[in-house]
């Protein structure tokens, strides 16, 4: 089994988001970067499948060099090697093009991604790559087992789940509870230092959307506290002030 896992390098959820350069650039100062939370589930399942069925796991990131520590973390968790496409991820189309190139050349049996990135929140890249390389896409996947070249999948739908089957190779956008996140152990961290991380230059620079500017939502006002013995007041406020019931 040759598995490719696409990981994003994103600010930890607890990060304060700010912008610089007239609100056209993300402020990286003081930011702690992590593997995208949904991508982390994809990676964990990839490593489990490798342990179960044999094979290799390759981690792929489209991003600049400041993402290398996060890629090393994926190696420490259990990826065998990694590829970084050395470019700022300009838009989903650009990223999908880069991933599609790696998928076409690599002959992977399985391509795992996250359900969505926690910075761009597009939920788009897997669908685009699927069409570019002509492979089926299933997302959001909450359970994935492989038997005799066929995948058995549970996919989340509104109000429940649906069970599917598809032959390998295909592309999945993963989410909980597909696997438990893995925390790298000491041996993993040591071995990650010497595992190969290949840096490749991007193909083309075509994009389909371009950034004008960033902005932040307005600050939340003060919370209005209501006495626990006076729930009627809350009901009145929701009806007459907030007008939401």
């Amino acid at each position: 089994m040759k598995i490719l896992v696409c990981i994003t390098n994103v600010p930890d959820t607890t990060s304060r988001i700010a912008f610089i350069n007239n609100d056209t650039e993300f402020d990286k100062s003081g930011i702690q970067y992590v593997i995208g939370p949904y991508d982390d589930f994809a990676l964990a399942r990839a490593v489990e499948l490798k342990e179960e069925l044999g094979g290799t796991v390759t981690a792929l990131n489209v991003g600049e060099a400041y993402g290398d520590p996060v890629i090393r973390k994926a190696l420490a968790i259990g990826a065998d090697d990694a590829i970084r496409i050395n470019s700022f991820p300009k838009d989903s189309f650009f990223v999908a093009k880069q991933i599609a190139e790696v998928v076409k050349k690599g002959g992977y049996d399985l391509v795992l991604m996250g359900r969505e990135s926690s910075d761009f929140n597009g939920g788009q890249v897997h669908g685009m790559v699927g069409e570019m390389v002509g492979l089926p896409v299933v997302s959001p996947v909450m359970k994935l087992d492989i038997e005799n070249g066929k995948a058995k999948i549970a996919r989340e739908i509104d109000g429940g789940k649906e069970f599917l089957e598809v032959n390998l190779p295909f592309i999945a956008g993963c989410q909980e509870p597909i696997a438990e996140w893995k925390i790298p152990n000491m041996r993993g961290i040591m071995s990650a230092r010497t595992k190969p991380l290949q840096v490749l230059e991007p193909v083309g620079d075509e994009t389909r959307i371009s950034l004008k500017k960033f902005s932040l939502p307005p600050e939340k006002g003060e919370v209005k506290m209501i006495d626990e013995d006076n729930v009627e007041e809350l009901v009145q406020l929701l009806k007459n002030e907030a007008k939401v019931i």
Partner: protein, 319 residues
Amino acid sequence: MSVLVFVELAAGEVKGSSLEAISYGHALGLGEVTALVLGITDERKMTGLGKYGAQKVLYSDDPKLEKGIIQAYASVVAQVFDKVNASVLVFAKSSLGDPVAANVSVKLGASLASNVVELPETRNGFVVKRSIYTGKAFAEVEMQEDKKIIGIKKNAISLKEDGADASVEKVEIDLSDEDFQVQITSEEKASGEILLPEADVVVSGGRGMKGPENWHLIEDLAKSLGAATGCSKPVSDMDWRPHHEHVGQTGLKVAPSLYIAIGISGAIQHLAGVNSSKVIVVINKDAEAPFFKAADYGIVGDAFEVVPKLTEAIKALTN
């Protein structure tokens, strides 16, 4: 020029988020609005889409399209986009809509922006505002291509409800075996439930509810408000509630008008899933719970006492 809207059904009903997509498509003012309905529903519901701004409804009740298979839906949407000579496709962000639209964008060579929160600004190019960083920021992006696909976030537009009936017509489409490499074998679904991603009011419970046996308190309050029920991650991890109710960074992102959080501490990972709600009410016995900082209204108190009283007060109001 015209606008195509991808409509999703849930148990034969048009999803509320798809009605918003139709209203959005209409408000674009870029020509005739065609709604594409895949799956089985009755004719009356389709003509009724006119009320929200669709002039025309095209449908396919091909049994192969009853379930949402990404490739097959994408192939149909792309064909119909060309057939009606559309320049914009609108859909509501969902676990099906996102990958379908992404696939279609590559087929058509279109610009795609999802998670859009407002109507576009078109004075200088075609610029839409997207929600990013899981609700913590926005990006204004220009859609460069002539063909555009817009995925809207809940509440991106208020529903319009004054149009005339839409004309309804069955659409002929070509489906190939290629489109059906994924086979759906079965489905497990709660019936008659208000869908969480669609709900205008959400009542959510956390570990403070102590156990699944107490969930009737959450459900009764939800019922009195016509709300959907949600939960925090530990609650679904412990199987007190099904996974599809789990809200937050690793779960569902919701954007209701009213979110009521009961016995949830308000960890940042939970807030990431609810920070787009219009109004947040927090009930927690600990006055120091971080959730109060993100709330509009708060009650410090024991959920087991406060929630039944609140349910009664709501019932009294609606009777």
